[in-house]
Symmetry: C2
Subunit: 152 residues, 2 copies
Amino acid sequence: MSSQRERAAFIDHLKSHGHRITGERLALFDEIFEQHRHVDAEELLAALHRKGHRISRATVYRNLDLLVACGLVRKQRLGQRRYLYEHIHAGQKHDHLVCRSCGRVVEFVSPGITAMQREICRAHGFSPDHHQFQILSLCAECVAASETQPSH
Amino acid sequence: MSSQRERAAFIDHLKSHGHRITGERLALFDEIFEQHRHVDAEELLAALHRKGHRISRATVYRNLDLLVACGLVRKQRLGQRRYLYEHIHAGQKHDHLVCRSCGRVVEFVSPGITAMQREICRAHGFSPDHHQFQILSLCAECVAASETQPSH
DNA sequence: ACCACTATTGAGACAATTTCTCAATAGCGA
DNA sequence: TCGCTATTGAGAAATTGTCTCAATAGTGGT
Ligand SMILES: [Mn+2]
Ligand SMILES: [Mn+2]
Ligand SMILES: [Zn+2]
Ligand SMILES: [Zn+2]
């Protein structure tokens, strides 16, 4: 699998921080690196249970935070109530376009906008490296729907 | 006060949609147009109670949604768990830089980035008009703190 | 000004999601 | 292998927003 490097980085991080390498942690790592979409904690928990792992909800939440701290996972709200998680491959990043009405999410990469957000971060003393970027708008379908039935 | 125009627009909106003009609605309007920062529903409720209004939590939430529907108020998550609200003056818009660690929020206006997000919206069939834009990063203080005490 | 109609409100129950508690378990260094 | 203690599991608790429904109060018509 192509997440060997990240798996090793996770184990290194655990060791170097005096954390233990537990079955639950590795199972969660494997699960989220198998998922190629935005998943929430509940989905990960269910998937792990389906595969026969006995792991609790609290452990999933706790170790997701750990993966985020390692920089291996992104945790974000994308319009929904729940936090969504996605693994990060080799530091590649992308940004999100979120429909505020139906929740649809589109990923995009825009070097131009990345450069500009870096500049804005710098101008205000924020880290240009740890940014995350969202555009909340309305997708074509939802715009069409709202034009058919003007407001409510 | 400088929110006369918006207050009138609110009342017009209520009338034209067959909604009633209630004391609670006007009190909430006045309160949020007095606040010049991002406030959550709980803060608005407390402020109203402090001023002697008897208004319930449910009414605050319901009528905040109404103000959002009128386009007089913005409702957004800015890194925090709660929704934050801010009134809109004469359609002026700005975007937000949010510290993911301490929650600090900086407002900015960047014509360049606005043009680019418009372009990205258009490229993906999203409405270029209803966008909202956030950069989540780390403020200078939090970057300094995390460098002193590497991770947790 | 008064009435009747019904939209709106208040109080608290409820729902959804995440965090906390603490006794039991299981990594890990010696 | 042993002992220490970080981690886990199960469920309670916390947090935040929504829903319910009887009581209240705007509104249009008289
Ligand atoms: Mn993504
Ligand atoms: Mn703002
Ligand atoms: Zn949509
Ligand atoms: Zn900060």
